[in-house]
């Protein structure tokens, strides 16, 4: 075995993947596991997107695509940014990648030199930090406390910025908390960013269409147009259109940055699957009613889960604005022992015991940089959610 590259040393394997795999192992033994660990919609891909994929395959749209995406998809992305976000990007300010993840990877790899800092509101999707590390950068988490609705406070952001800050990352609606920022809250964050012209802003808006109770999503370059020339707006088809497996992410940003990112992607993977690109273009341009219908279902599930979790002794669950996650605090369970005799000292202990004893897979907050919490994905049918929450209640009641 060759010694691995130093850049991989501190990089972790995604905890949600680990929990999902553990859940699958138990399921393989015939145990009925309910997985609330995975971050993907349980809905199918919209029919018109599927139809477009069929047509593309049969029409022989099976050759190398341009590295930055097909013209048809880039134009659909351009329309989407205009329609949903009031943002105008030229076609050379847009690129398509193998998932939103690759947009972020491209941006970090194309811009981060050793020692550059990436400010990440915490809790956070751990891949942000890992990708920054692979690129030789230093993640700088900024805590977004539960008592502030898991949102980023301007003064905390200000304190985290240094002359080495290259990127500030924003992800609202947030994975894992579901927290989303109002226009006023986003404007306050923008005020801080405006004061520091050396830094770049990346916003991961993957969950933009999953907001509830009339909440209005906003994105930073729209709220503060003067930041647009140093903002990368990342989005994708995965969450909005239930297209995780197709792997289509896209982003808009200044031409020089996009050009460098395309150059980077040209070395890593080249363009992405043509069939997926045809499907994504159809999803973006087609009827959007499905999006609102599904958001209404997610809202019902969120309300159910929050209510049931708050009835479990030792848990306190904030009701978030968006995404399909809740992030209950489990501090009230620490120091106790489960019915199966497992000592609960950390959120990891809690998640493992819950899986072993009640066969509910969820991910510990530690995997997102904040303890003691649990991330629960409610992208699962209502019956399973109800059953899972009942099992969690039972698990907590039996703690002693």
């Amino acid at each position: 075995m060759p010694a691995l590259a130093a850049r991989l040393k501190d990089v972790s394997i995604s905890a949600s993947v680990v929990m999902t795999m553990k859940g699958r192992e138990l399921a393989a033994k015939g145990i009925k596991v309910i997985s609330l660990a995975s971050g993907e919609p349980d809905f199918p891909t919209p029919a018109h997107a599927i139809e477009a994929a069929h047509k593309a395959a049969l029409a022989g749209d099976t050759k190398y695509p341009p590295q930055d995406g097909t013209r048809a998809l880039k134009e659909a992305v351009q329309r989407k940014f205009r329609r949903d976000n009031n943002l105008d990007y030229a076609l050379d300010e847009i690129m398509v990648a193998n998932g939103g993840k690759q947009c972020i990877f491209n941006a970090f790899m194309a811009t981060i030199d050793p020692g550059d800092e990436v400010v990440i509101p915490s809790p956070y999707w751990i891949s942000y930090a890992d990708m920054a590390k692979v690129a030789g950068g230093r993640p700088v988490p900024v805590t977004c406390p539960q008592n502030n609705g898991f949102k980023l406070r301007p003064e905390d952001l200000e304190a985290a910025i240094t002359p080495r800050t290259k990127w500030v990352l924003l992800n609202f609606p947030n994975n894992p908390t579901g927290a989303a920022c109002s226009r006023a809250e986003m404007a306050a964050i923008a005020e801080v960013l405006k004061k520091h012209p050396h830094l770049w802003v990346m916003t991961d808006d993957m969950y933009e269409h999953l907001v509830y109770d009339g909440f209005e999503f906003c994105t930073i370059a729209e709220v503060a147009p003067e930041l647009k020339e140093r903002t990368l707006t990342v989005n994708g088809a995965s969450k909005t259109y239930a297209m995780t497996g197709w792997r289509v992410g896209f982003c808009g940003g200044p031409k020089d940055l996009i050009k460098a990112m395309v150059n980077m992607q040209g070395q890593a993977t080249s363009g992405i699957s043509t069939i997926s690109q045809a499907a994504a273009a159809a999803a973006l341009d087609g009827p959007q009613d499905l999006v609102a219908e599904r958001a209404a279902i997610y809202k019902q599930r969120r309300d159910l889960v929050v209510a049931m979790l708050n009835e479990a002794p030792g848990l306190s669950c904030h009701k978030p604005e968006g995404a399909f996650y809740v992030f209950p605090n489990i501090a009230g369970c620490l120091g106790k022992t489960s019915k199966g005799g497992r000592r609960i000292e950390t959120d990891t202990d809690f998640a493992l015991a819950l899986l072993e004893e009640k066969h509910v897979a969820a991910v510990q907050g530690a995997a997102y940089g904040m303890s003691p919490y649990l991330r629960i994905s409610y992208a699962t049918d209502t019956e399973s959610l109800r059953e899972a929450c009942a099992r969690i209640q039972e698990f907590c009641r039996e703690l002693s």
């Binding site: 010694a3 749209d61 193998n98 194309a110 497996g245 020089d256 980077m264 080249s270 992405i272």
Partner: protein, 400 residues
């Protein structure tokens, strides 16, 4: 602080940009341009493979898969390696990626530390040295001339190995020359490798199915199984099954390395498109007749092109064993002036003048680190090839 990271500046600027831009401009101006510059089959993906993709969509295989690929595809890859080469891999030793390029990226970025060397026989696909540079390694280029059929000798390999050598990157059959090694030719190279246990081998066998006149390209492990714990065997669907746009590459390798590659991929793109993976299963396990049909057509075209090019004054074209490229030597034209009055000092002058004056697009040898040549892809219809070669003959005959 500058935006772009140092690592991107280490990538050589694309040498084909001028050529591509000019070809596009001429076409836009209504000129009849025959392109012999593309590195992809002109055939469409076989129908059974498309149908398998469509069936997968209908089954709802539109969700995240394991980062390393679906078990079904990894099993199919194991079976392929066993059937074609007698190499035994377990599914855990297989990684599926978004194109063969990502397999290379994963392997090199996961292992190369600053200053590590990778030996690359040239002429070569320039992505190899670029990815090595991106990973902060040092590409060590070994020039292999037409006198050895563009193949590397054991002496050359021995002389290139130093204590800092981490990888030998081997491409068989080769892009851009079409040169291929059979088992007897590979043996002396593996003997050198056996004497240097610190050197790892990356073999890119993506063109393996495209070999002619009964020639059988061998892969490293069938020649020397004892290299298995330090060899990555890469292959993919793009060339054998005309599936470039689907973006599926794969590799077998030692478990610890595959795990590291999986980890890097989990932080850069996650899984390859789930639908394309289902298509790849059908490609590998379904009827294989289309390969033989395409191979026969390519062989006929190769013979046509080699014969016609050797009739062009100043051109010397080697007849290669495989792939769909020839790499003629054009040094006999250097110092001459074209009918259009262009002075030919370099291979790039030659290809640009050929494009301007005869409307034939090719790629100059310097883009593959071997000036004095140019690459012709014969993955184009016989009629167009005949016409293009006639134009090349006229172009050369018109020089003085």
């Amino acid at each position: 602080m500058t935006l772009i990271a140092d690592r991107l500046n280490r990538i050589s600027p694309s040498l084909t940009i001028a050529m591509t831009a000019k070809a596009r401009a001429l076409k836009a101006a209504g000129r009849d341009v025959i392109s012999l510059s593309a590195g992809e089959p002109d055939f469409d993906t076989p129908r059974n493979i498309k149908d398998a993709a469509i069936a997968a969509i209908e089954r709802g295989e539109t969700k995240y898969t394991d980062v390393a690929g679906t078990l079904a595809l990894r099993q199919a890859v194991c079976e392929k390696f066993r059937r074609d080469h007698g190499i035994d891999y377990t599914p855990e030793e297989i990684l599926v990626a978004t194109g063969g390029k990502q397999v290379i990226f994963d392997a090199l970025v996961a292992t190369i530390n600053p200053g590590d060397e990778a030996i690359i026989p040239a002429p070569c696909w320039v992505s190899y040295p670029d990815i090595v540079s991106l990973a902060e390694g040092t590409p060590v280029i070994v020039q292999c001339g037409q006198n050895t059929g563009f193949k590397m000798t054991a002496e050359q390999l021995e002389a290139a190995i130093t204590p800092k050598t981490k990888w030998l990157i081997f491409n068989n059959p080769c892009n851009p020359t079409g040169a291929a090694y059979n088992a007897a030719e590979l043996k002396p190279l593996t003997e050198v490798l056996m004497r240097h246990p610190h050197v790892w081998v990356f073999t890119d066998d993506i063109y393996e199915k495209l070999a002619y006149d009964g020639f059988r390209p061998a892969t490293v492990l069938e020649v020397e199984p004892r290299l298995k714990d330090r060899t990555v065997t890469m292959n993919g669907c793009s060339k054998a099954y005309a599936m470039t746009g689907w973006r599926i590459g794969f590799a077998g390798g030692p478990l610890p390395l595959i795990k590291a590659m999986d980890k890097l991929q989990s932080q850069s793109t996650s899984n390859a498109c789930s639908i394309a993976q289902a298509a790849a299963v059908e490609a590998l396990t379904g009827p294989q007749d289309s390969i033989e049909e395409m191979r026969r057509v390519y062989q006929r075209r190769r013979d046509l092109v080699v014969e016609m090019l050797n009739q062009a004054p100043g051109i010397r074209c080697h007849k290669p064993e495989g792939a769909f490229y020839v790499f003629p030597d054009m040094r006999g034209c250097i110092g001459k002036t074209t009918a259009g009055g262009r002075k030919i000092e370099t291979d790039e002058d030659f290809t640009l003048a050929l494009l301007e004056e005869q409307g034939v697009a090719t790629v100059h040898g310097a883009a593959f680190l071997s000036p004095g040549h140019f690459r012709i892809s014969y993955a184009t219809s016989d009629d167009l090839l005949q016409e293009a070669c006639t134009r090349i003959q006229a172009f050369c005959a018109g020089m003085r």
